[in-house]
Symmetry: C2
Subunit: 128 residues, 2 copies
């Protein structure tokens, strides 16, 4: 998809609306690309698994609800309109009480579970 957007898009992307179209939680969907990075939206609820991405930082922007990110030293709570970047190699676990809608930004090809081969690994590079 590297060259799919060389023509400017006709419309902007409404992130919360896109997230609301996803049929299941914990299933990131790509909504746009910037160079070799992807913008993904996801609906989450409950707790994910601990994992890390040794090769890349990972950015989270909260659209609705509250995202809790568990980190080795404690946790942060990220509210709508707030951004948090998990540095590469840092173990983390995303969680939400009730549903949260998020945008994630990371290089194309990064799996949601890092290098954990887990039942919760989502299919990658699926657009919505």
């Amino acid at each position: 998809m590297q060259n799919a957007h060389l023509q400017p898009a006709a419309y902007p992307i409404n992130l919360t609306h896109k997230a609301s179209l996803i049929d299941q939680q914990w299933s990131p969907r790509v909504v746009a690309e910037m160079n070799d990075y992807q913008f993904k939206v996801v609906r989450i609820e409950g707790e994910f698994i601990w994992h890390s991405h040794p090769e890349t930082d990972e950015a989270f922007l909260v659209l609705e609800g509250t995202l809790r990110i568990d980190l080795p030293q404690g946790c942060v709570h990220v509210n709508p309109g707030e951004l948090y970047v998990v540095p590469r190699g840092v173990m983390h676990r995303t969680a939400a009480q009730g549903e949260a809608k998020l945008m994630m930004i990371e290089p194309r090809g990064i799996l949601n579970t890092g290098h954990e081969d887990d039942a919760r690994t989502a299919q990658n590079d699926v657009w919505i």
Copy 2:
């Protein structure tokens, strides 16, 4: 600043609040980094100059107000919670009637005016 965030931050970044701290319009300020990319916030009003970035796509997320992006084929209007990616090499001009607050995402080192040497080129890599 490449390695400045190897330790997880203690708090998320409230983007609108950060933008409100900037003392002048059209002066992007860096709020976070992800690998070699920077997240910048900016307050704009009126029209910028036409320019392009031949080396990179550029992403805009609107926080408050409405961003108009003029493009060779017309314009798009981007509202709060909406994302728009201007493809590399595409001429564009940002504008807003009344003030708009935005987040921009682009590789470190990209000037706001592209390769136009203009009075409106802002100082680069200034954090807030």
